[in-house]
């Protein structure tokens, strides 16, 4: 059962398309990692899915509801937190909770209060005094307290240090296990996603390069190293995503489509970030946007 469906979705600002012709199905109950370089349209996609703007082209539907036309029915079922969460700076944490309880029919204030207490964030703290990590946590707690069926998180960890990122992920996983919700989480940091997310969408320039179950994707790709002269034979069986050649040797990242019979070839498992990087460099010309992603994967 798909929770969210996008069909030929596009958004244009002036003459520039921020997102173009995106078709995507998101199955229910998953924690979906939406991965792609900056400028791939991740933020725009999530904002259109929230109904913040009318798409320039195509449609997006969640639970069979249009985020724009059926806003009154749609909004109570969805939670949202953005990168560098913009919270009212003059508010206290308690004010934010009060806002949530006043602006939502379903609001689990007890859960929100206990989560914040566990995080050690006092209600009388002013938002301006919170660290970036605490703000991200508060934004996530606010989104969760709506008791949503679908949670959209736009680069929620972009401003967090590794420890805070770990805490955030733990909170997210605990909540998704308790509340049984679907999460779509955009990120350009791939490292943390393997443990948290069970579904992967790789997006470049509004096109999906790779969509599927996280374990199947990671298990279904291998690095193959073998003699260059038998490259064609390998290519007839396996789907070559990325190939590097030396004089006589080929180093391939492949999607496994059949058995590896040639004993001269060796196979190695690959990481998620290697797979993602291979798909990104296969399909998109290398631009400035990709460099930070590559630096991330290389480190």
């Amino acid at each position: 059962m798909n929770v969210l469906e996008a069909r030929h979705l596009g958004m244009r600002y002036g003459r520039k398309w921020a997102l173009e012709d995106l078709t995507l199905d998101v199955p229910g109950g998953r924690i979906v990692a939406l991965v792609g370089p900056n400028g791939a349209g991740k933020t725009t996609f999530l904002q259109l899915a929230m109904g913040f703007a009318e798409p320039s082209a195509g449609t997006v539907v969640a639970f069979g509801l249009s985020p724009r036309r059926d806003a009154a029915a749609f909004l109570p079922r969805v939670g949202y937190a953005a990168q560098e969460p913009a919270l009212f700076r003059r508010f206290s944490v308690g004010d934010l909770l009060k806002m949530g309880s006043r602006l939502n029919h379903h609001w689990d204030g007890t859960m929100a209060a206990s989560r914040l207490r566990r995080l050690g964030i006092g209600f009388d703290l002013s938002v301006a005094s919170l660290s970036g990590g605490m703000r991200a946590q508060v934004a996530l707690v606010l989104a969760l307290a709506k008791m949503p069926d679908l949670l959209l998180l736009d680069e929620p960890m972009a401003s967090l240090d590794p420890l805070a990122r770990h805490e955030f992920m733990r909170l997210l996983m605990a909540a998704s296990a308790e509340q049984g919700l679907t999460v779509i989480l955009s990120s350009h940091i791939i490292g943390d996603l393997r443990a948290t997310c069970d579904y992967l969408v790789v997006l470049t320039r509004g096109r999906t390069q790779l969509v599927g179950d996280m374990d199947e994707i990671v298990g279904g790709h291998q690095r193959l190293v073998g003699p260059l002269d038998s490259l064609d034979a390998i290519g007839r069986v396996q789907e070559i995503i990325q190939a590097e050649h030396s004089d006589r040797q080929a180093n391939l990242l492949v999607r496994i489509r059949g058995p590896l019979l040639d004993p001269r070839w060796e196979s190695f498992p690959v990481d998620l970030d290697q797979i993602v990087l291979a798909y990104l460099s296969r399909n998109a010309p290398i631009s400035d946007f990709d460099t930070d992603l590559k630096a991330e994967a290389a480190s």
């Binding site: 958004m11 725009t44 904002q47 259109l48 929230m50 109904g51 913040f52 703007a53 009318e54 806003a71 009154a72 909004l75 109570p76 969805v78 939670g79 949202y80 937190a81 953005a82 969460p85 913009a86 919270l87 009212f88 700076r89 003059r90 508010f91 004010d95 009060k98 806002m99 949530g100 006043r102 602006l103 939502n104 029919h105 379903h106 934004a139 606010l142 989104a143 709506k146």
Partner: protein, 324 residues
């Protein structure tokens, strides 16, 4: 949503209320002094036509001079509504700049509901505050209105419908700029400059001609307009004059000088006067009578409210269609 808006703007609301309280106190305290001045100068007997002309025109002039001590207060009262509008709208610019509107939009209130309350509530509050100010100011101006009429620039702007109307105009400019631009400081700057600019332009070029002014060729004798009239062309103390001869031809000051020379002393003045009379040349004076006060108020309010409404429509359309 009402609570959220109040929580976001309670500082501005408090500020406006404090300003209102100070303003009302000052007005109540100074009104008595103005009334006392009117009685001391013997103006009531002038208004009922008992006293003679020379005494009265001296009394009127003295009152005008004394009243101009209130000029600072009048100036503040003229621009206060603009400032209130800008300050109330600035918070929405901040919200667009910091992106906190997305937090509100991600709750279970629809965009239409958010827009109506977030923009509507500050408008209602601003209209109430400036309406109160206008009410108190109109009451404060009553004595001065009786002496010098309600139409003079400065007096006219602080009474009746105009304070709320200009509050809304400044609010609409600032909120439109804030929503389209997403920068608070330039939006506030534009609100102040454009608000005051439009006000000045209307006051200078449009208001004198809302209705064709009464006009007279003034050759000699007492002024054809009264102390309560608003003279919009020529008259005593004007910086430029328009002349016309018996045939109805308009003459510039230079042409008149070529015919009758210049006034330098008392002697040349009487020669100049008889020359003017001989050539049937007079000065064209135009004025607006005080009875047109409410017509003028309605016209200017309609003009500014129309402008403000157009800007608010643009803002709402932009919020609904173009903002992510």
């Amino acid at each position: 949503m009402i609570w959220l808006t109040w929580r976001q703007q309670r500082f501005e609301a408090g500020l406006a209320t404090v300003v209102l309280a100070i303003g009302v106190t000052v007005l109540v305290m100074t009104r008595q002094a103005i009334l006392a001045d009117i009685y001391a100068l013997g103006i009531p007997s002038c208004l009922s036509g008992i006293a003679d002309n020379t005494t009265c025109s001296n009394a009127y002039q003295a009152f005008k001079d004394n009243f101009s001590a209130q000029q600072t207060l009048l100036g503040a009262l003229t621009y206060l509504p603009l400032l209130i509008g800008v300050v109330l709208a600035a918070s929405i610019g901040v919200e667009m700049e910091q992106g906190t509107y997305r937090l509100a939009w991600a709750q279970s209130v629809t965009r239409g509901h958010w827009t109506v309350i977030r923009i509507g509530l500050p408008i209602v509050f601003g209209m109430a505050i400036t309406g109160l100010i206008a009410g108190v100011t109109s009451w404060w101006m009553q004595p001065a209105n009786q002496v010098q009429g309600p139409l003079r620039p400065g007096s006219f702007d602080v009474q009746g419908l105009l304070p709320p109307a200009y509050m809304l105009l400044a609010f609409a400019i600032t909120v439109a700029a804030g929503v389209l631009w997403r920068r608070t400081v330039p939006a506030v700057g534009l609100g102040i400059v454009a608000g005051a600019g439009i006000h000045l332009a209307i006051q200078t070029w449009i208001r004198p001609n809302f209705i064709a002014p009464l006009s007279r060729l003034w050759m000699s004798g007492p002024a054809p307009y009264g102390p309560q009239d608003w003279v919009v062309q020529g008259g005593a103390g004007a910086s430029t004059y328009v002349y016309s001869d018996g045939a109805g031809r308009q003459l510039s000051s230079e042409q008149v000088q070529a015919i009758c020379g210049q006034v330098v002393d008392a002697q040349s003045k009487s020669a100049w006067s008889s020359c003017m009379q001989a050539h049937q040349i007079g000065e064209v004076v135009k004025w607006q009578p005080p009875t047109r006060f409410w017509e003028f108020q309605s016209m200017e309010a309609a003009l500014t409210l129309g402008l403000a409404l157009a800007l608010l429509c643009l803002t709402v359309w932009w919020l609904r269609r173009r903002t992510v």
